[in-house]
């Protein structure tokens, strides 16, 4: 495997973990526009611990996940009272707060970033992404997973059925924080350098797009969304460069994002429920589990 493909596989694996980190709150009906901030918390926790104290990698990773999860928990308790666009703004504000703190704290390297002495290869990261994928799939089959989906469909009726809607949402948001923390820690160890600009609001927007365009109805959506948004821009880099001939030299990067933007809009119009839907999946599998509505 070439270094380029290897790097792509790792970025894809990290994006898959992050997509599921954002998927869990979204599956309960809560949009999270602060995904990258939780990743930043995990990455900086890992960077700080490994430079200051040093510890076995799994221990550092566990601490990163815990710190990010704890912050998600505390945040969820306060902001999950807000709904809809206000919740989106609250998570966005949180992300700005995290960037502000990192830039202003010297112990975290400020705007210069931090080097990370420990290294982890691509293999373990891909394995962990696989574990996260399978773990979330199993989770959605449990009683808690059902409660999450019921809460997403109709929180009033879910409450009427005796589901602790608030508890369910806080738990899903916290679990999302844990996953983002893991992705952050892995990012720090793989690239051996963290800087706050990596975890900006554009990244948070992309993470939410992975989930919303991939589809929130089934656990496959985030995987497809993450894969699409990781691989397609890279393919365009290649395609655009070859298409435009000599003049494409200066055009390639900007053009591929314009094409990506158009595709994003078309997907939103054509499949507002995301690429992977329950009915679509049912038809694909050729059974009647999710037959379309009869006329």
């Amino acid at each position: 495997m070439s270094g380029y493909l290897d790097g792509m596989a790792v970025i894809l694996a990290l994006n898959v973990i992050l997509a599921y980190a954002v998927f869990l709150p979204v599956a309960t009906g809560q949009l999270n526009l602060g995904g990258a901030a939780f990743q930043a918390v995990g990455a900086y926790a890992a960077a700080y611990i490994s430079t200051q104290y040093g510890a076995p990698l799994p221990v550092i990773l566990a601490v990163s996940a815990s710190v990010s999860g704890l912050i998600a928990f505390v945040l969820a308790l306060s902001i999950l009272r807000t709904k809809g666009v206000y919740l989106v703004l609250a998570t966005f504000a949180f992300a700005q707060f995290v960037s502000g703190v990192i830039i202003n704290v010297d112990a975290l390297g400020g705007a210069l970033g931090m080097t990370v002495p420990e290294h982890v290869g691509g293999g373990p990261i891909i394995v962990i992404a696989g574990v996260v994928l399978v773990g979330v799939m199993l989770l959605m089959q449990t009683r808690f997973g059902l409660a999450m989906r019921a809460t997403h469909d109709d929180d009033t009726v879910a409450e009427l059925m005796g589901i602790g809607v608030r508890r369910t949402r806080v738990a899903a948001f916290t679990l999302g924080g844990v996953l983002a923390g893991i992705a952050g820690g892995l990012y720090a160890f793989y690239f051996n350098f963290v800087e706050v600009q990596t975890f900006d609001s554009l990244s948070s927007i992309y993470l939410l797009l992975f989930v919303l365009l991939g589809g929130t109805q089934t656990v496959w959506g985030p995987l497809i969304g993450a894969a699409f948004f990781t691989i397609v821009p890279e393919l365009f880099r290649y395609v655009v460069a070859n298409m435009g001939g000599a003049s494409a030299g200066q055009l390639d990067t900007s053009w591929r994002f314009i094409i990506l933007g158009i595709i994003t809009v078309v997907m939103m119009v054509a499949r507002p429920e995301g690429v992977v839907t329950r009915t679509g999946l049912g038809r694909l599998l050729g059974n009647r589990r999710a037959a379309p509505r009869e006329a």
């Binding site: 009683r143 409660a147 019921a150 997403h152 469909d153 009427l160 005796g162 602790g164």
Partner: protein
């Protein structure tokens, strides 16, 4: 004070407010074990607010709610469900992205016993339509089937009192008839029912007692047969004073 035997549900002096608006004013209502009680009244009379307050979805501004001998005025909704009090809300009330089967399982969410699977089978036996569609998304069901699913789901919580908010709304006459037959059958098996209905004729026929609300307050309460004969009934709906 001599005390008559306490009913399964005892609501006393209940007020519900939304900001400055008083939706329910000093309402007393009781449902005895195994009884059907109808709550009637025009739109905006406070019927839905009354049910929501009893289930704990809105706070009681004043008054007490007792269920099965316990004061539940400040209990949260899941605690009330666990005690055997369940509300089937008005309108579209199923989980559209879950299968029929998963919808039913959600009804048993508060239960920890092992008889859930057996009870779900019993539901399928009662409603073959649901059994045929068990693995389909609940959104493919017709309106009448969705209402049956909503009631079945509520039954899986093993309620002692089921509150139904306008269960016949938007159903075909055939399904309205089936719905009331079902309510009567369940009641014969011991379920107490608090029924909010626009279909006053059917409701009064099924109920033992009835209460009429007007602008949030009780204007008449008594045996269903007496209420059916009362002039108050037409007045309440026509808004005469």
């Amino acid at each position: 004070m001599p005390h008559k035997r306490e009913g399964l549900l005892e609501v006393t002096g209940l007020d519900v407010r939304y900001g400055r608006n008083m939706a329910v004013k000093s309402v007393d209502i009781s449902v005895a074990e195994g009884q059907i009680v109808a709550v009637l009244g025009a739109n905006g009379a406070g019927k839905t607010s009354l049910l929501r307050a009893i289930q704990g979805m809105v706070r009681a501004a004043r008054g007490t709610i007792r269920f099965d001998g316990h004061d539940i005025t400040t209990a949260d909704t899941p605690a009330r469900v666990r005690r055997g009090l369940v509300l089937v809300p008005e309108g579209r009330q199923i989980f559209v992205s879950l299968t029929v089967h998963d919808n039913l399982l959600m009804g048993a969410y508060t239960r920890r016993d092992t008889a859930v699977a057996r009870d779900v089978d019993a539901i399928y036996e009662r409603f073959p339509n649901l059994a045929q569609r068990r693995d389909m998304l609940a959104s493919v069901l017709s309106g009448g089937e969705q209402q049956m699913l909503a009631i079945s789901r509520a039954l899986l919580a093993k309620p002692r009192l089921m509150m139904l908010d306008e269960p016949s709304l938007g159903l075909s006459p055939l399904f309205v008839q089936r719905m009331f037959d079902l309510i009567r059958t369940l009641n014969r098996d011991g379920l107490a029912v608090l029924l909010v209905e626009q279909n006053t004729g059917m409701a009064l026929e099924a109920a033992a007692r009835a209460t009429i609300l007007e602008l949030g307050a009780v204007v008449l309460s008594g045996d269903a047969a007496d209420v059916a004969r009362s002039e108050m009934l037409t007045q309440a709906y026509l808004g005469a004073h």
